[in-house]
Symmetry: C2
Subunit: 217 residues, 2 copies
Amino acid sequence: MELVERPRGGFSVVLVDGQGSGPGAKRTSHHIVNRAAALVAEGARDGAVVRAVHDALYAMRDGQVSATLTLLSADLEAQTLLISQGGSVPVILKVDGEESVRVLKGTERPLGVHVRVRPQVTQLPLKQNQVVVACTDGVVDAGKRLGHPPFGPEGIADCMHTMTSGADAQRLAETILAGAVAADQGRARDDMAVVVLGIVNTEVTSCTRTLALECPF
Amino acid sequence: MELVERPRGGFSVVLVDGQGSGPGAKRTSHHIVNRAAALVAEGARDGAVVRAVHDALYAMRDGQVSATLTLLSADLEAQTLLISQGGSVPVILKVDGEESVRVLKGTERPLGVHVRVRPQVTQLPLKQNQVVVACTDGVVDAGKRLGHPPFGPEGIADCMHTMTSGADAQRLAETILAGAVAADQGRARDDMAVVVLGIVNTEVTSCTRTLALECPF
C-alpha cells in the first residue's frame, strides 16, 4: 500500500496484492505498488497507470505471476473521485443520499497473466459524504477457508452501516479489519489490508495536513 | 513530503523544500521528493539517494534552483536509524539516556546549485526512546522576518522537553508547528512542515500497521 500526492492536487492510494505469500510475493507487491505510485506522481492518469503496471508485470514475470491492484484517487483538479480496479476484489462505495452501498466488482481477470487487461474505472464527482472501502481478497474471503460463508462485501457494508457517522475513516478501517479477522476465527489466513477513503464534512480547525504512521516491530 | 516503505523492511520519510514559493517551487519539490521516494523504494542507499537527487536537480535546472532535502529512515534490516541531510536545515535528535538534545546542522550547501554535494549522513542504532525531528526552514526561521529571534532548534528542543512522554509523535509535531506559527505571530511567512519520527515503547495491542492522512480542502 502506498499513498502518494498527485502533481495537480489531491491524493491517491495504491493497494496491491501479489500472488502467493512470503518474501517473493511481498517483493513483487512492493515493486508493483511503487511503480504505480511513481507513475501517479509523474501525472499519468489512473487507467493508464493500471495498464502500464499490468504490462510491466506481464513482461517481467512472463505471464506467470498475477496481482490485483486497486487505485483510489481524490483528484482535486478535476474534482473527481476515481476508483480503478485491476482484478476481482470488490470495492464498496457509499454515496451521499443513497440508502444502500454500491459494490464495484472489478475485472474478471487479475493483472499480469493475460496479454490484455482493461481496468475497471469508476468516476464520481468529489462530493461530501462519500466513503470508499478497498481491501485485499483476504478481507472479503475471510472465513471461506474454514468452510464458513465469507465476510464479503456484506460484512463491509454492515460495518459501514453500523457506524453512526462516516467521519472517522480510521475507526471504520479498524472495525472492518477486526470483523474480517473474527470471520477467520481470530487469525488472518491471508494478507489483510483495508483502505478507507472518506470525503467528509468535519469541523476544520486549521488548514494543516497531517499524516501519521504507526508500525509495530 | 513522502513516506515510503523500504524494500528490505522499515520506512523512510523524505522532506523536500524547493527554492522559492508558488506553483513552480511546488512542482520542483514534488518532482524531487518523488524521485527520492522512488529511489528508496528500489533499494538505493540513503546517501546515494541524496546525491542522485542533487545531480538530477543540478542537471535539470542547470544549477539555478536549490532545494533542501532531509531523509529519515528506520532501517529494520540493518537495525539503524539514518538521518541524511542535503542543506542547512537542522535536524533535532533526542537519544535515550542523554539529557539534552543533539542538533545535526546538515550541510553548508543546499542541493542543486553546486557541481558536487556531499550529504551529511548520521547513523544510529535503532533503539527505543529515540525521537527525531526534521522540518523546513520556515519552522526554524519563524519569527526572523518580523525581526524577532527565530524559533530555531531551541524552540523545537523546548517542545520536546515539555512533552512528558515521547510516545505521541503526532502531538509533538502539532506542538512544534503551533510554536513556529506563534513565533510568526499567527501566520506562517514561509512553507512549514514538521516530521517527527519516534521509536517508542508503547503497549502494542496488535501487529496492525496504521496509516492515516487528513487533508482539508
